[in-house]
Symmetry: C2
Subunit: 125 residues, 2 copies
Amino acid sequence: MADINAIAKQFTDFYYSTFDSSRSTLGSLYRDNSMLSFEGAQTLGASAIVEKLTNLPFQTVQHKVSTLDAQPSSATVASLIVSVTGLLVVDDSPNPLQFSQVFQLIPDGGSYYVFNDIFRLNYGA
Amino acid sequence: MADINAIAKQFTDFYYSTFDSSRSTLGSLYRDNSMLSFEGAQTLGASAIVEKLTNLPFQTVQHKVSTLDAQPSSATVASLIVSVTGLLVVDDSPNPLQFSQVFQLIPDGGSYYVFNDIFRLNYGA
């Protein structure tokens, strides 16, 4: 699955660097049927998703990926599921937050778009 | 998405109670094309997956689900992605471990099977 892992790495590198520098420009990665679940809140469609992400209540944010896994998500289409765990540093807080995020990427004209996006912070016991 | 959330809840209740009581019987939830990524190690197919899970180096285990999210994973088939975060208590250790797990469930004859399964422990900063 070398190809799939390389695609997942390339996607997450691009996604998180874009998120951390100018998250209002993430819209090109989503489509009208894309879904976001962010801390349990549901958002449908690229423009609503970008609005949701842009309005999150922090000024600066940095994602640090700890683990990255990818699997083919279909027997017939070259789509993939990407699962990420990592740390989130928000507004220079000294305490990073753990997060988990899952994407399903769908091939589209030589690239991929995000069909599913599920984000959760992970709190300890 | 009430139905999808109910399916996800029903599935995870069954999956984790079976895992925690007799994980050698989980094979009926997987198929020959099912994939497991467990802490980065890849396993393909129901029998190899059950062997992998059965041989994990602990005697007793208890999963406690903290968050559960579900989304439709296809525009054409009633499949779904289920994302779980939670705590794992292993062999009566006083320190639960945080975990993240992602499933893709595919409809099959009135029920669902697990096509994708990605499991990771989450370590702190």
